[in-house]
């Protein structure tokens, strides 16, 4: 019987977000199916449900026509489903053969494990794929590509019928990609169901047979790879109604002189980055995850080393060796991960707001509690942070209010912020609060702050920014004004090979 995998009405919600909404499609054995969508379209969530890592709220998965339900990843593996994630799930200090056969090591009569048999089994498996790996090699010593192959072989060894790949080519070189594709073709010829998640359109045309497009957790369409083209795909991935959120914003239209001037900036992660931000202007950085947006932000803020190029602030050349130096010159960063990088979660709102200006709200060596309190009260007022008291512990605030605390930190009267970098300012924040934060960002621009906005939400970055820069692979690939930017154009530039 032909193998098949069917998703039927899968829905999944997280607090404040509906990640998947009634997703239904079928993947056939002997074919490669691409799962395509922007950041946050729901691809990863779907894979997590498939692998038993998360449970769907509604709907079911049919394996070869039979409904299945997994309580944990092991149950999914036993049922013949292997999901190969970007993060390897191997033991780096063990050999290749031990990794391949962990859980089913061949035993000798004495109950010890049979190293000779293990070696032979592993060798046989590796030879089937025609890969040049020594079974006794430690996995930690292998390149990323070979580690990935070990993981694929593990899936094959388990005799999995369904093998799903999550962005497998992201860390690979061209030659390695070719080897991977050969393996995928071999698996396909064996009649397995292959699900392939990737952002890279060129690869999708090279390796897949059909394409399912997701958008904001909704199923959009199914296409035969041979009968479609890039333009049609990009169109399918974008094009939702924007609503009035952006039209009702009161924006700044009066830009001043150039505040931030970046020329040929280079770090270990990004290359040849040049752009300017004027007083009161919002410049958006658009691009896929891993395109280098956050790395640009960190370099501007002195958090990552700069290896080349120049940064000018108000015409003066600067080079920051630490965030402290950047802060003192008026550059501020709201990091992407509020909990890990933004706030000290178990401390009060007021401590978190005073954090960068502890030395400026003091009486000699001692802190001035009244000054700190006044500073925090003002921020709570200005951004209408919903809290009974400034003594409240930050972890007890909602995501939106936490973000406002960080905004309050960087715009307090003790700060002289000229450039504010916002990395994913609305991540994980509900729709209502998002609108508030959008208006806040526009207000900050009106006050003359130069804003650099990073967002994975295309509509957000396009509609909020005055100028949009697209990034791909550590380079800036395009520059559009809000008037000329469309999601299609931005996505095409961001996915450019």
């Amino acid at each position: 019987m032909a193998k098949s995998l069917e998703f039927k009405g899968i829905s999944k919600s997280y607090p404040g977000v509906r990640a998947l909404n009634d997703i239904s499609f079928t993947a056939q054995g002997g074919r490669v199916l691409a799962l395509l969508g922007e950041n946050g379209a729901g691809k990863s969530t779907l894979l997590k449900i498939l692998s038993g890592d998360q449970k769907a709220d509604e709907g079911e998965i049919l394996l070869n026509g039979e409904p299945v339900s997994f309580h944990d990843p092991q149950a999914a593996i036993n049922a013949g489903i292997s999901v190969i994630y970007q993060e390897r799930q191997l033991m780096p200090s063990m050999s290749v053969m031990e990794n391949l056969y962990v859980g089913s090591l061949p035993k000798t009569k004495l109950g010890l494990y049979d190293k000779r048999k293990l070696y032979n089994n592993a060798k046989e498996l590796i030879d089937r794929f025609n890969i040049d790996i020594d079974p006794v090699q430690l996995v930690g010593r292998l390149s990323v590509a070979y580690q990935q192959m070990v993981e694929i072989m593990k899936a094959v060894k388990r005799n999995s019928d369904i093998i799903a790949f999550d962005e497998p080519t992201a860390p690979l070189t061209d030659t390695e990609i070719k080897i991977l594709f050969d393996i995928i073709k071999k698996l396909k010829d064996e009649g397995k169901v292959i699900i392939y998640v990737s952002h890279r359109l060129a690869e999708i045309f090279q390796i897949t047979d059909s394409i399912v497009v997701l958008k904001d957790g909704h199923y959009v369409t199914s296409l035969e790879t041979a009968q479609t083209n890039e333009t049609e795909l990009i169109k399918a991935m974008v094009g939702r109604d924007i609503g009035d959120t952006y039209n009702n914003l009161s924006r700044n239209t009066d830009f001043g002189d150039v505040v931030l001037d970046v020329r040929n900036l280079k770090t270990p992660y990004v290359h040849d980055i040049s752009f300017q931000v004027r007083k009161g202007e919002i410049v958006g950085l658009a691009g896929l995850i891993g395109s280098g947006r956050t790395e640009v932000a960190r370099a501007l803020f002195g958090a990552d080393p700069v290896t080349g190029g120049e940064i000018y602030l108000d015409g003066e050349k600067v080079s920051f060796k630490s965030p402290r130096e950047a802060i003192d010159k008026g550059v501020a960063l709201c990091p992407e991960d509020r909990k890990e990088e933004g706030l000290v979660m178990q401390r009060s709102i007021k401590d978190n707001i005073a954090m960068p200006v502890v030395d400026r709200v003091s009486k000699g060596l001692l802190i001035d509690p009244d000054a700190i309190r006044a500073l925090a009260e003002k921020a709570v007022d200005k951004y209408s942070i919903k809290t009974p008291s400034i003594e409240k512990i930050s972890s007890e605030l909602s995501g939106g209010n936490q973000q406002k605390v960080i905004l309050g930190r960087w715009t307090s009267e003790k700060m002289e912020t000229k450039v504010l970098i916002l990395d994913e300012p609305t991540k994980g924040i509900d729709v209502g609060t998002k609108a508030e934060i959008y208006q806040t960002i526009c207000d900050l621009a009106k006050q003359g702050i130069a804003v650099v906005l990073i967002s994975s939400e295309l509509t957000e970055v396009i509609n909020l920014s005055d100028t949009i820069l697209t990034m791909h692979n550590g380079h800036i690939t395009g520059c559009l004004t809000r008037q000329e930017a469309t999601e299609e154009k931005v996505l095409a530039l961001a996915m450019l090979e």
Binding site: F301, S322, L333, E340, E341, G342, Q346, V358, L366, I367
Partner: protein, 338 residues
Amino acid sequence: MKKDSFYIKHIRPLIKHKVFTLILLFIAMVIMFTLWSAIQGGRFFKISTFKNILNSLVISAFLTIGAGCLLISGNIDLAQSAIGAFGGMVLATAVKSWGLPWYLGIVIGLVLCAAFGSLNALLVTKFRFPAFIGTLAMASMARGLMYLFSSIGNKGLAANIAFNNAPLSFIGAGSIGPIPLGIIIMLVFFIIYGIIISKSRFGLKVTLIGGNPVAASLAGINSTAITYILFINSAVLGGIAGVFNTARLGQGALLALQTNQFTGITAAILGGISFGGGAGGMGGAFIGLLILNTFQIGMGVVGVNPFWVNVFSGVLLLVALAFDFIAQRRSRSVLKAY
């Protein structure tokens, strides 16, 4: 109405405060020992008991302050008592073998301790060693160097170095009026460090680093400099404990502070300083120290076998850690809910 607001404003925060619970625990412990010794026909409330408790406090107090400050910043120093013992031996060697005046001996000892502290900090900040491992290695080195110093002027053999020095014996055992000098110095230290941790700019930065080092550094707090200061501080306070030990015994002892390896950390955690950093203060640490010492001496007064005293001290630490971890886990589950 007015009564209510007084209660909410002043009484409730007091009850909710961790230190308040600790004081209750301390009182309960004193009552327990009083009853226990009464049953045995003895008396717990004796001048000698209190003298014992207070005297035993002094040396552990300096260790506790140093360890506590580091713990609040999310770091740990396992070498502290070994460095202190080394400093104490340097003092004895300086006085006895080199014939230096006592104050120079103390200064040399503490400067060398500070050097050890900055090495600890270097390992943790520059080379990114886990503090646990790095300071453990340094502990071994400090003990080794202590033996080396003790063998100077002793034909290459390691041995206790005894000396006669009036100012040092005054430091070790003298009193001002009825109060031992050591106790006065200890209380002054607790008050100064209490102000530093709870009221100063530096203290707020230490606590914020302990709460989230990444966020603190992205908010412009220089965690490297602060880590250096705290490790040096921990080592120098260890050295002061070593100096007191040497002064009190009248000799640089090979086994100095051997039983105090974890005293500072234990007392600090008992006193509500979070093992993961970011919470706690010197008031709590002081009560933690009181609880630990009263417990150990009280056990002796009621005649519990000394081996069991160690076992029970371990249990006490486990209980304190369990409370800390439960509190942490609860705050983490709050985080998850968002």
